[in-house]
Symmetry: C2
Amino acid sequence: MASSARPAVVLVSGGLDSTTTLAMARADGFDCYALTIDYGQRHRRELEAAARIAAALGVSRNLIMPLDLRCFGGSALTADIPVPTSRDPKEMTDIPVTYVPARNTIFLALALAWAETLGAEDIFIGVNALDYSGYPDCRPEYIEAFEHLANLATKAGVEERSRFRVRMPLVALGKADIVRHAVKLGVDFAMTWSCYAPRADGRPCGVCDSCILRAKGFAEAGVQDPLTAAP
Amino acid sequence: MASSARPAVVLVSGGLDSTTTLAMARADGFDCYALTIDYGQRHRRELEAAARIAAALGVSRNLIMPLDLRCFGGSALTADIPVPTSRDPKEMTDIPVTYVPARNTIFLALALAWAETLGAEDIFIGVNALDYSGYPDCRPEYIEAFEHLANLATKAGVEERSRFRVRMPLVALGKADIVRHAVKLGVDFAMTWSCYAPRADGRPCGVCDSCILRAKGFAEAGVQDPLTAAP
């Protein structure tokens, strides 16, 4: 089966969005290569989640690539800047301090390099409506500019052997819709990880932006999140 | 002096082109931050050259960032593919096997991340006329597409605090012109390194594309290359 399917590179962080994106790419019949970047993020649990998810969803390969973005600093996810807590989603209108400079440009560039060597034309990324209210490099116009660049940047693009596409299956979805799609695709939410600042006992903090948005999504979808269920 | 100068990120590989680019950025009064990527290239001498050059040209910082592109493969510079030898420059019309998939997109994305955290708006890269006859990601239209992307991709760009520019001071120059500019700027050619496949005795091979183009440039400029002078 997998060998006749079209290959695709899927950026998998271990969170709810990228897991649902991977499940969608699989459901669309792609032979998936999961790329996870170990960029020195403080929420290391994310990386273990990514590896579990990639294995469970039967990817052809999961590449966990070390790339230490802490040497640049500038983000609450990579430097000594506090992760904000207990914010109302309505307050999350500015670009948050959890923004990592140029992160998606770096991740998409690495995905493009792998896609070119694999002979893949499709790159999947889990950006969505909620992200691009805050992060500049999650907006559709940004992703379209990257797609344009990808076809100028590569041997395969210039020789017209490939036409690279950056697929954003969640782009129009809010968090509750993502939860509903994930349920339909049989995603095991217990394997995913969203929290930026895990508690000492290994459970999600419940108060960072990522926990708050996840909780809101599950509540609106009427689904119980196994990560926050009473033990 | 340096503290009042505008900061710039300069991609420095250790070769003739990026060294001349760095010397030009310094001559233009920029406070330079040199970014060198240790991507697993077989010509490791390049990295030592980059560090020496950055120190000699008085950069504010030289960051040598490990990023192992060998995990993707696909290039004679990172995988077990022979480096071509003894080609006539006229034969070098196709995209060469020394092309590293999406390399400049990855390097520019990293430079952008650093620029954003430094508060720099300028990124220097040593692409030139000779490169873009072969490498897709050295062409001016590619660099312009990256510049457009950079301003969509970043918090600083979106909030209009910065307007990122990718500067290509060598873009219109051939190798002989680059040598002439470097002479005027006092570049010490003995510190640079171009060869893709150094000999066991540590001298340049003289037969890879990079050696051949370098030799042609020095010959046309009427300058003796100290790296190939008789011992």
